[in-house]
């Protein structure tokens, strides 16, 4: 693991030496802040209506749930900016020669890079905990639901980052990597609504539910509602591991070209 830590350290340095990490962190927190403020506003108005016997059902917990479902979606836009450079940049700078001729195992390389981008994303999500603090100070949210939401976020992020890394390994251009990562993540989200409208069946395969299952949206939503299902955990972990394995294969295949 010595190689993986060396890679991890170097990648984190690179992130924080360029403005990328700061800009993305800032923009992400700003957008989340706007959304949070808007939601609080809506919540208050509904509360006023409720007091006079109007609409029901908007609670602080629902607020947190909506907030995090939005965050999971917004992170789809953030991920490509952090993962695009992982491999594409190494190829452009001809630094793969250094990594491949050093006594470094390929899986250490893949793992180190994944961990670097992942830990940065995790850091962003952890910083977003300030919204929860506001809710705790001025409200009374249900903390176990928030905990399970964070678990879901961490798992979803792992699968975003691994997919972004895989796409970055397949091209030498950061821009192309970013665009494709974004398209891939968006399509994965859309699979949910796409699958719900399909009732076609081929043999045993029901296409609708299959597409819904393949989308991370539903899996994440159950976390954000406080449900921790084994199948959701297995989904995210296997998604991540398969992407990492494919990344390993693509990186390895670079030698044969």
């Amino acid at each position: 693991m010595r190689g993986a830590t060396a890679i991890l350290k170097k990648e984190l340095r690179s992130y924080f030496y360029s403005p990328v990490a700061y800009v993305i962190l800032g923009v992400f927190l700003f957008i989340m802040g706007v959304i949070f403020a808007k939601f609080v506003d809506i919540y208050q108005r509904f509360n006023t209506v409720q007091r006079f016997g109007g609409a029901q059902g908007i609670t602080l917990d629902k607020l947190a749930t909506y907030l995090y479902q939005n965050m999971a979606f917004i992170l789809c836009f953030v991920t490509p900016f952090l993962t695009m450079r992982l491999y594409a940049e190494e190829k452009r700078q001809h630094t793969l020669e250094l990594l491949f001729t050093a006594p470094l195992k390929k899986f250490e390389l893949v793992f180190g890079k994944f961990l670097a981008a992942y830990s940065l994303m995790v850091f962003m999500v952890v910083v977003s905990f300030i919204y929860v603090l506001f809710m705790i100070i001025w409200g009374n949210p249900e903390l176990p639901i928030i905990a399970s939401t964070y678990l879901g976020l961490l798992l979803a992020l792992a699968c975003y980052v691994s997919l972004g890394g895989l796409i970055s390994a397949m091209t030498n251009s950061q821009a192309i990597a970013a665009v494709w990562t974004f398209i891939a993540l968006l399509l994965l989200w859309l699979l949910q609504s796409l699958g719900q409208g399909i009732s076609a069946k081929t043999g045993f395969v029901e296409w609708g539910p299959l597409l819904v299952f393949l989308s991370p949206l539903g899996h994440f939503n159950s976390f954000s509602e406080g449900l921790i299902h084994l199948k959701d955990i297995v989904y995210f972990l296997s998604f991540t591991l398969i992407s990492l394995y494919f990344t390993y294969c693509v990186v390895e295949s670079n030698r044969w070209r």
């Binding site: 010595r2 190689g3 830590t5 060396a6 890679i7 350290k9 170097k10 340095r13 690179s14 030496y17 360029s18 700078q93 001809h94 630094t95 793969l96 020669e97 250094l98 990594l99 491949f100 001729t101 050093a102 006594p103 470094l104 030698r255 044969w256």
Partner: protein
């Protein structure tokens, strides 16, 4: 089972081999064979690489002795870089085998990589890091122990004259400094073998000299393969050259100190006056083949002789004793260049 004097076994096997492998292991015996056998560091056997239909290198066979500096000479696209990339384990060969320090590059790439320092054509640097951070990263990557790391970084910084730029961003360095950072990177883990792909490209003349001096200083200590398409460079630094053209080795020669590969050298002598018997006297020195004299104010003598210091010394004695007013006497380095051109152009086929 291998039978060897016990002294050898205990002395020469690196500690990690002793710890992890039993002596009957095949890989060890290979390593030991390399120790016991000749003093060969790099052994390449009918190495071939094809990119689709195009053959980049064709059946290369050569070996490099421990401590030797080998010049790898050829035009652009002759296959120098491909050979180096295969030796360093960056890419696999289509067929053939190669071993470094007794370890096969395919069977035991890890052991091979530990022993190699590699400077590719484009120095593999990260522009966003500071010089010392970059070197520290490479040291980690190469598995340099924490306790020795700062010492080793200091050493290569000094060796490559990077003291002034230690704390500067690599992206802001000039080409020459980047090249030196690349060289420092290749040296950081104190490898037995150095593989340098055109290390002096982009350096100014003073830096080229420094780089050459640096490489010369490694003679005997490290085995170096050094590729270039500049002839004078080879003449200045290498013990031996391999000329490679369109994927084939066209010549393998030891370089003598005179700087010629063909056996004959030309010496230019300029004198004030030429006496009647000067030509005869010089020709009578054994080893001198031919003397041309052209006169134009001063007199210019071109002496063609064996590439032997004794012969040249004798010629100079004769010239001085003839009291002809010696102004200048210098070897003509052209020999190597001419020789090289005949090697490449003599083959026929496309010319540059």
């Amino acid at each position: 089972m291998l039978k060897l004097p016990s002294v050898l076994v205990t002395k020469d096997i690196p500690a990690f081999v002793k710890l992890t492998r039993s002596p009957s292991n095949n890989k060890i015996s290979k390593r030991l064979n390399a120790f016991v056998g000749e003093n060969t560091m790099i052994e390449v056997k009918s190495l071939t690489k094809k990119y689709g239909d195009r053959t980049a290198i064709n059946q290369l066979t050569f070996s490099v002795a421990r401590g030797e500096i080998l010049g790898f000479l050829g035009q652009n696209g002759a296959g120098k870089t491909t050979t180096m990339k295969i030796l360093t384990g960056f890419m696999p060969a289509s067929s053939g085998s190669a071993s470094i320090g007794g370890f096969d590059i395919l069977e035991n790439p890890f052991e091979v990589k530990k022993r190699i320092g590699y400077l590719p054509e484009t120095p593999p640097i990260y522009p966003e890091l500071l010089v010392y951070e970059y070197l520290s990263f490479v040291a980690d990557l190469r598995g340099v122990p924490k306790s020795e790391k700062s010492k080793k970084i200091d050493k290569v910084v000094e060796l490559c004259h990077l003291g002034d730029v230690r704390r500067r961003l690599i992206g802001n360095l000039s080409k020459g400094y980047r090249q030196r950072v690349g060289l420092a990177q290749a040296l950081i883990h104190d490898p037995e073998v150095l593989i340098l792909d055109e290390p002096t490209v982009g350096l100014d003349p003073k830096q080229v000299n420094e780089a050459r001096g640096l490489i010369k200083n490694l003679r005997g200590e490290k085995t170096v393969i050094y590729s270039t398409h500049i002839l004078s460079e080879v003449a200045a630094t290498c013990d031996r050259i391999i000329v490679i053209d369109r994927g084939n080795i066209v010549a393998q020669e030891a370089l003598n100190p005179m700087g010629a590969a063909g056996g004959l050298v030309k010496t230019e002598i300029i004198v004030r006056k030429v006496g009647d018997d000067l030509r005869k006297k010089i020709t009578s020195v054994s080893g001198v083949k031919e003397v041309h004299i052209t006169s134009n104010g001063t007199h210019r003598l071109i002496v063609e002789s064996d590439a032997n210091e004794e012969v040249i010394a004798e010629v100079s004695r004769v010239v001085v004793e003839s009291r002809s007013g010696l102004i200048r006497m210098s070897p003509i380095q052209q020999a190597l260049e001419e020789y090289y051109l005949t090697l490449i152009t003599g083959k026929g086929g496309p010319q540059t």
